[in-house]
């Protein structure tokens, strides 16, 4: 009998993710219809098209570059979330780790005048320490990592605002431009910008983030450490019984997750694509979108590359809606609906599996009755 491709768990994840995306976009469209039916179809298409909205080919390539520049940090945040989730930890603190990473690289670049490599390493180190706090609290004090993560998100935000006030522009709440004040700290581009119509923000951050996704994949699936970490995630007590250091594994996981998210912060701010606003009153959404990307990608690092791009694609696309009628937050709405739907992924897989099982049972029953009839006929003749 031919093997049903629906039984493959990768195919199931893909179907579930596509279903989440389609339903998410549909709900987004309905919301637009409710607000103002006149331009809803155009606006939702504009969100989906993103950079394809521009009429000139060279601009399109440039805007694709802009989307990719923000995809790299998002991918890092989603890797951070998914890596921790594989070990049974929900790293909502990725947002805070992203913040302290951004803060560390900016202060290293503008305050200490370090070059890009040291800025990046400094951000990674600070993020790792920040992640370790959550890990230590979880391992030794049994503190729920979600709640401690949220607390650290806010502490990180206030601390970053306070520290970066030292290197901000005198007349605005934004930090100084790296291009003019600390050009040594900008990530090298190795000529990549030529591919994107001289988009100066395109740097090695983009290939590096993809490389790290592959590294994480190999580490989780093909190494002893990855196996131990996943075992700890599946059953902490069983892992402990099998002689794995479950406390060490929890802390190590959050150290790595923190480092990944902080690297995301460095990948964004060391390109000078954005400036940090020292008066922001809410934690940047990058870390939270990372959660969306991690789950939409089926908790697979390679899937995360695609899903991060998709989330960033519609987030950037939000700017193209008809702003006289709608607000650009419509894309935040769509991505949060997608995460909500990701909660149902297990149910979708269960539905697919039980559907297949039912059909196979029916077929088996049918074959059986067919067989009986044939032998019956044979008996008559």
């Amino acid at each position: 009998m031919k093997k049903n491709i629906l039984k493959n768990s990768a195919v199931q994840s893909l179907i579930a993710s596509l279903l989440c995306i389609i339903v998410g976009l549909l709900i987004g469209y309905i919301v637009l219809l409710c607000i103002n039916p006149a331009g809803a179809a155009d606006s939702i298409l504009a969100v989906i098209k993103n950079f394809l909205n521009s009429s000139r080919a060279n601009l399109r390539v440039k805007y694709l570059g802009n989307t990719l520049v923000k995809t790299a940090p998002l991918l890092m945040c989603s890797l951070s979330v998914l890596f921790a989730y594989k070990v049974g930890l929900f790293n909502i603190g990725a947002a805070g780790q992203f913040v302290v990473g951004s803060c560390a690289c900016l202060i290293a670049a503008l305050g200490f005048g370090w070059n890009w490599l040291f800025c990046l390493l400094f951000a990674i180190a600070v993020g790792a320490v920040y992640g370790a706090i959550v890990g230590l609290l979880k391992a030794y004090c049994n503190v729920n990592e979600v709640i401690s993560g949220i607390m650290l998100n806010w502490i990180g935000l206030y601390a970053a605002n306070m520290i970066l006030t030292g290197v901000k522009e005198p007349t605005s709440p934004y930090t100084l431009h790296l291009t003019s004040e600390a050009p040594q700290a900008i990530l090298p581009s190795l000529g990549l910008e030529k591919l994107f119509n001289n988009n100066q923000y395109v740097t090695i951050a983009i290939p590096l983030s993809i490389l790290l996704a592959i590294v994480i994949y190999v580490m989780l699936e093909k190494t002893k450490l990855g196996y131990e970490l996943r075992a700890t995630g599946n059953n902490k007590n069983a892992a402990k019984y099998a002689g794995m250091a479950e406390k060490r594994n929890i802390i190590l996981t959050l150290v790595i997750a923190g480092a990944l998210a902080a690297m995301g912060g460095a990948f964004l701010y060391l390109t000078d694509y954005e400036q940090w606003s020292c008066s922001q009153s809410s934690v940047p959404g990058m870390g939270f979108n990372g959660i969306a990307a991690a789950f939409l990608g089926g908790l697979n690092p390679i899937g995360a590359i695609l899903s991060s791009y998709f989330i960033q694609h519609i987030t950037n696309g939000g700017a193209y809606v008809d702003l006289t009628k709608y607000s650009s937050q419509i894309s935040d709405l769509i991505s949060s609906i997608i995460i909500y739907l990701c909660g149902f992924v297990l149910f979708i897989k269960y539905a697919i599996n039980s559907g297949i099982a039912k059909r196979e049972e029916k077929q088996a029953a049918k074959q059986k009755t067919d067989g009986v009839e044939e032998t019956g006929k044979g008996g008559e003749a």
């Binding site: 609290l137 502490i155 809410s282 959660i291 702003l323 006289t324 709608y326 297990l346």
Partner: protein
């Protein structure tokens, strides 16, 4: 000093209400990480009432606003109920998604509403300077806020319902050992739905309370600054018991109040500590408190585990 007391009491009211909401939901066995989102929607409900019915007499106004907040909070908590009870979804993901969804949805909605009223207005805020006065009573230097009373009533109701009624004891049984509860004829799904909906009521009330004590105009893009999670910390420190939650809420309320009024208190202002430190204080304190108390946590045993009738 009177000002500090007043702010402590109002912030404690917010934390108490939301933490009691979390308490009901967790006692029924559902971890409600979406409290933050429920607060946002509850505050939206109350704010809409104040915007569209601003001419009501003071007493009716108070009740209308509370009802608006309750209705929105309850309706929004259904998202958690459907996903985590009927579809057995991961409660952590759903709760997190609800928090993000609430801010995004409220922002989109309020912006659409403002733009429809005035095409040049693209802000995401609703202002309620006039209706807010219905909630305040002045006693000399002390400003009494009706929400303080709401919080006390909420506390008494929660205590009686949880410990003195059949319903409350059954609800708690579903969070401790749902299979055992089911075996004696309690409908676990219904009880969990009840827990989630009640947490929606309390969360919604806490949300409207939060925005009304913080400002006279609310920008919905900002959400509620992690208060839903602070309330969860209060709940854990309060060991899921209403009376202990109330005392913890007062302590946390004090730290939050310091951020608002420290400049008016002589010796604190003289210390010259940057205001950011005071803003961070509630979060730092809650981390420390959690570190000290989580080890011997008395959390409901079956919380976070979807109930499946087939698994006995």
């Amino acid at each position: 000093m009177l000002l500090l007391l007043q702010y402590t009491l109002v912030f404690a009211s917010v934390l108490l209400l939301v933490a009691l909401g979390g308490c009901f939901s967790e006692h029924s066995g559902i971890i409600n990480l979406g409290l933050e989102g429920i607060m946002v929607l509850g505050s939206l409900g109350g704010a809409l009432v104040m915007r569209f019915f601003s001419g009501l007499p003071a007493v009716i106004m108070v009740f209308a606003v509370l009802l608006g907040a309750i209705a929105f909070g309850m309706a929004y908590s259904c998202l958690l109920g459907v996903a985590s009870i009927n579809f057995k979804a991961d409660q952590t993901i759903v709760g997190t998604a609800m928090n993000m969804l609430a801010t995004a949805a409220a922002t989109v909605f309020v912006k659409a509403m403002n733009t429809a009223a005035n095409p040049n207005d693209v802000s995401s805020s609703i202002q309620y300077i006039e209706p807010k006065k219905a909630f305040l009573l002045r006693f000399g230097g002390f400003e009494f806020n009706w929400f303080m009373l709401v919080a006390v009533v909420g506390l008494v109701v929660a205590y009686i319902v949880l410990y003195k009624t059949k319903f409350g004891l059954r609800l708690m049984a579903c969070g401790e050992h749902p299979q055992a509860a089911d075996s004696v004829g309690i409908n676990v799904y219904k009880m969990r739905w009840a827990g989630v909906l009640i947490s929606g009521v309390y969360g919604g009330l806490g949300g409207i309370c939060y925005i009304m004590v913080s400002a006279s105009e609310w920008k919905f893009e900002d959400g509620v600054a992690g208060f839903g999670f602070l309330a969860l910390a209060v709940m854990i420190f309060g060991q899921w018991k209403p009376t202990r939650i109330a005392l913890t809420a007062l302590l946390f309320g004090l730290f939050r109040a310091l951020a608002s009024v420290y400049s008016g208190i002589g010796f604190l202002a003289a210390l010259n500590i940057p205001s950011t430190v005071y803003n961070m204080l509630p979060y730092i304190v809650s981390l420390l408190v959690l570190a000290l108390t989580s080890k011997n946590s008395r959390a409901p045993k079956a919380e976070g585990i979807p109930y499946d009738k087939g698994q006995r």
